[in-house]
């Protein structure tokens, strides 16, 4: 079943190659060169390697790298524990109120991590919202590795939940049913058939969680520093932000981070390449789900509890902060007011322009990463062209590049005086930055989807006379579209609230949602920032849902 000779390799590979070269290779090469040549920013290649060794031999590096891996693994483990059971149950059983849980578990994607973290801090710290309501606080847990892991898990586990529920649904109970017919117990069928066949989606989502966890800045900076827990990203950020600026050092630390992420990627590839996961063979299958029976109540309770922690707490904290007139006034009736929301909708400090900019950038980023991610995944999975491993690696590389380093790389690359045209200092540079940072999302999901499509479908189309592009467009694309579309919606949400790269690379005079919020926080207007955050979360949740509903009505995506 591994006939890979079919298909229009050349155009797809070229398109993927050019896209990846512009989006990924350019900034990454600039970062590598910066690590080697410390004076690159001034256009000089003098004193190569002079600072690289000093940075890499710094004794603190070992501690930071160790903490980074520890945090990444902890978040992956916690996400898997939380998401795999929920996702499996959601896929195989008729869960009451299932659409509601799906929406509630979608919201954490839309909550920027720095907002969620601040929400948790304002809830759990002494005299926080929890203490104001219930009389006690959980500050000692919050400012620790456990607290960091929990906050980051609640923010990222939906990636795993949706991947598991979708792939298991696609695998269906059909294969497990065959096992049952031949006498396997339900548990045995699950562990030997359903779980292994769902591995591509599960492994891809766990890789994304690991990469997101080691690349995350806001939560470790807010919670970890107080516990003396320094990770690579906070180390990189202080090299970029604290005087004297050390760009070569930041670039070198980023390369360490890239190596960590590549290692995780290779492990994932090794797992996936050992066998075939093709389950979409063109035969019709009934999507039959079983009733929960006596387990209905505990399953409902689990969904409700997880939804409350992942979505309820951060959203309520954001809303409470936005609705209180003064923070020191606390949750008292006479301290409530809609002034902050009025200020946002009244366009205070360019709030509406920032919203418009970010939403447009989000749509464009989703479109670009969708196209490049799909063709790159096709080239990697369905063709045998040379260099497809390189394409695969390039689609995962940005996963490990912290946003701030992508930003520095983009400035270094696109601000060279010799360039006749430069996107730098135009909104295009933000599009480049977001596409680079988020390309792994669409590429990973599309790769996982292609891995599950049998080659005979494309072959059948070709035999019937379809050209390679037609077969791709009419057969393969519709089959991977559900996965790709959800990845693109995720990209839209992530791009419209990206902060870390935007802070450095934003063109003069332009605001985005995240910059607006960040500047409000910096000036002490936490309430106004939170009102903006709440509006953003609602808009970025409702827009994709409306879009999905539209797709369903047109029959492009199964309900």
């Amino acid at each position: 079943m591994r006939a890979k000779e079919i298909g229009g390799a050349a155009p797809a590979a070229w398109l993927a190659g050019i896209g990846l070269a512009v989006i990924v290779v350019v900034p990454f090469a600039a970062v590598v060169l910066q690590a080697i040549f410390p004076n690159l920013g001034r256009g000089s290649f003098a004193e190569p390697f002079s600072l690289l060794l000093a940075t890499l031999s710094d004794i603190r590096l070992v501690g930071m790298a160790g903490n980074t891996v520890l945090l990444g693994l902890a978040v992956v483990a916690a996400s898997a524990c939380l998401a795999v059971p929920l996702g499996m149950v959601r896929a195989l059983y008729r869960v009451p109120l299932a659409p509601l849980w799906d929406v509630l578990l979608l919201v954490p994607f839309m909550i920027p991590p720095y907002i969620a973290t601040l929400g948790w801090i304002m809830t759990l710290q002494p005299r926080g919202y929890l203490e104001q309501i219930a009389g006690f606080n959980l500050a000692p847990i919050l400012f620790s590795l456990t607290g960091m892991t929990l906050v980051m898990t609640f923010n990222t586990f939906p990636v795993v939940y949706f991947a598991v529920s979708r792939t298991v649904e696609a695998v269906g109970s059909r294969y497990a049913g065959v096992g049952r017919v031949f006498g396997a117990s339900p548990l045995r069928a699950f562990f030997h058939i359903t779980l292994p066949l769902s591995a591509p989606g599960l492994a891809a989502s766990l890789l994304l969680v690991f990469a997101a966890a080691i690349e995350e800045y806001g939560t470790p900076a807010a919670l970890g520093r107080r516990a003396g827990f320094e990770v690579l990203v906070t180390g990189i950020d202080s090299r970029v932000s604290d005087w004297p600026i050390d760009l070569p050092g930041a670039a070198a630390l980023s390369l360490v981070l890239v190596l960590l992420s590549l290692a995780a990627f290779l492990v994932q590839r090794w797992i996936l390449n050992r066998r075939s996961y093709q389950t979409v063979g063109g035969k019709p299958q009934a999507a039959e789900k079983q009733p929960l029976g006596r387990l209905a109540a505990p399953v409902l309770a689990a969904f409700a509890a997880v939804s409350f922690l992942a979505t309820g707490v951060p959203m309520l904290a954001v809303l409470a902060t936005a609705l209180t007139r003064t923070i020191s006034g606390g949750l008292r009736l006479d301290n409530l007011g809609g002034g902050n929301f009025a200020a946002v909708f009244g366009g205070a400090s360019g709030a509406l322009a920032a919203l418009g900019n970010s939403l447009l950038l989000g749509v464009l980023t989703a479109a670009v990463t969708g196209v490049i991610g799909a063709v790159a995944a096709y080239a990697v999975v369905k063709t045998r062209i040379r260099g497809r491993t390189a394409i695969d690696v390039l689609t995962v590389l940005p996963n490990a590049l912290p946003g701030i380093v992508v930003a520095v790389g983009l400035i270094l690359a696109w601000n060279m005086p010799a360039l006749p045209f430069t996107p730098y200092n135009t909104p295009l540079i933000l599009l480049f930055a977001y596409c680079c940072i988020l390309l792994p999302q669409t590429a990973r999901y599309a790769t996982a989807a292609f891995l599950q499509i049998g080659d005979n479908l494309e072959a059948a189309a070709r035999v019937c006379g379809a050209s390679a592009p037609t077969a791709f467009r009419r057969i393969l694309l519709p089959l991977i579209f559900p996965s790709l579309a959800s990845a693109m919606l995720l990209v839209f949400a992530l791009a419209s609230r990206e902060l870390v790269a935007s802070v450095v690379v934003a063109p003069v005079g332009m605001q985005t949602i995240a910059l607006f919020i960040w500047r409000q926080f910096e000036q002490g207007s936490v309430g106004l920032g939170m009102a903006m955050a709440f509006v953003t979360i609602v808009v970025t949740t409702l827009l994709p849902l409306a879009f999905l509903a539209l797709l369903r009505r047109t029959g492009l995506v199964a309900a």
Binding site: M122, V240, S241, W243, I245, V508, G509, F521, G524
Partner: protein
Amino acid sequence: MLKSLKSVAFGALATILGAGVAHADITVYTAGPQSLIDKLAEGFTAESGIKVNVFQATTGKIMARIEAEAANPVVDVLISASWDTATDFAKRGWLVPYSSPNAEKVPAFLKNDTTVAQGVSALGIAWNTNSGTPKPAEWADLAKPEYKGLVNLPDPAQSGSAFELDAALGAADDYKLFKDLKANDAAIAGANAEALNPVLQGAKAAVFGAVDYITFGSKAKGESIDMIFPASGTVVAPRPAMILNWSKNQDEAKKFVDYMLSDAGQKLVADTFLMPARTDVPAARPLISDLELMDYDTAAIYGKRKEILDEIAKIFAAN
């Protein structure tokens, strides 16, 4: 048909994308409040017809951007939150000498050949009046048992003014005060705004070395917070404005500096609760002449920046 549709779509896209970049005459990078630079730019454009494009971030992020842009810099006027930036840039020969006619009433220590202050902030104790703690009067008060676990310090590695305060106080008693603070469970908590936020909610009672204008702004919004300037002395952080020598619009840049120091410009500075650089512009807050300033050698402490930061980090390292 399809082709023309495509070109229309492309044209619309280009317009939308282009809309963000007005073709401005000068570019200002500022570490000051966004609202202040917005109003300064608006007033300046109204008066001169010269457009201003603004990039606002923390001093650190601005420096990272200038460093990465070094091969092809675009900034004309830089307003930093740390005087150290001006000293460093002058040493590198990056600054244009300019004395604005409006700088006459700016005291000598807030200007030199290449730099003039936009305004000045001071550090003090930001204290939550509802915290149930006695009102502190001195830095050392915050090491008393009443404030155990209730004090935040801005990170001196992230805040230039906090660094000067910590260095000056540390030199005075060989860091005894900081060891006492650590023993009293005081915590280093991010940059200025991050240190203040928990005090607003009441998780902490006071910030040791809070930036005054942010605190005054919060107080004006009705937060139960007060600003205390210890009588033993504090530090001020003048915000240097400078014109970069690679600027192709130096005349326009000079006009911007003139406007910033004009009556109208300095009033906008005072409205954000910063101290105006000019002594003849009134402000609804204590001015430099009302504050006791600590005596220390700026050049010397910046020369030992790394050692001082390491010393403080060592004291506050988690156990």
